[in-house]
Amino acid sequence: MSSRQQQKEKARAEREARERADAQAQQRRKRVQQLGAVLAVAVVVVVVLVLVSQGGKDKPNASNGGAVAGASDARAMLAGIAQKGTSLGDPNAPVVMTEFADLQCPFCKQYTLDVLPTVVQNYVRTKRLRLEIRIRNFLGPDSDVAARAANAAATRNRLWNFIDVFYRNQGTEDSGYVKPAFLRRIATAAGVSPQLVVDGSTSAAYEKPVKVAEAEATAAGLTSTPSFLIGPKGGKAKPLSFSALTVDAFTQAIDPQLKALAQ
């Protein structure tokens, strides 16, 4: 091979190497631009997700300086139904359903506002079911204060009103909103002495029922809220399975239990 041809091939190889290097550099620039676009899109999508996740948490109610919400709704739902301590309904009802709840739990609120009115109307008012409730405190310090306050309201047979009004005014979890001023307003709307509830919220005497509730939940293997036990009056209760926090799901869960326990 002549020297001239070798030089030509060498030049060609060098040109091709330069072209490849240029193409790679161009590709690298394009990829960096693509990464920039990906990051920009990702920031927008994440911000939207965060806003949706935060949405609906700050509606005005007693927890954030607004008016106390839902006092009349609670009164209407519970009007004329016997309350004694933690019980709601006829003491002689053949079946008892016990709820385990945390007053800060949003799903307990969902059950209470969306499902409980129908349960009360269809099962409690017809004396087929008596409801019991156990207040837990596992979601944090505000849960603990709220649980003691609720147990104080129970001593005046106004627990169910207190719970209902509390849920309708539920604030941001553990933001410290369960203060004496908040409890006073909830207690007043629930028809129970504000001073009793405020004093009860810091009293060790009302801590005992919370410990009992935790022990009962643990013994029954219940690890979430709201959870339910259902069983015959004075008999052994077992966990109630439900597929969703809807009226239909609870009707489907409760009806067979009532039927089986009535036999």
């Binding site: 190889a13 949405g55 949003p106 399975s241």
Partner: protein, 147 residues
Amino acid sequence: MKQRRLRIASLVIAGLGIAIATYLTYVHYAGLQPICAGGSHGCERVQSSSYATVGGVPVAVLGLIGYVSIAGALLAPGDGARLAAAALTVVGFGFSAYLTYLELFVINAICQWCVSSAVLLTVLVVLSVWRLLLVDEPPLEVAAEAS
């Protein structure tokens, strides 16, 4: 070659993510609580928190949709799929970082399953960005000719 290895590693991690998200979705709809090491209330508190859903959709379901989409983008050929995989993992990583912040500073409880998912998404975002920035190597015959 490096592309292929990164893709396989990403697929394995996305598979683990799908397994975790499937488990959390199952326990959510079965009304169970996830097994939480040490018997702490961490998982229970996180799952019972108002942040456990986004617009009414459980976070576990969002995670499952996300991981399946990432796996789909990893399996599909072409530059568009590579870009989609990077975009999905960056979004997943960003949202996972937000959820971890909530666990640490708002809910004050740690769910081990969520932490595991956050770790997987961190590894996935590194791999997918690396894969996106990786410039294609010239074909072997061209490289041989050039040498």
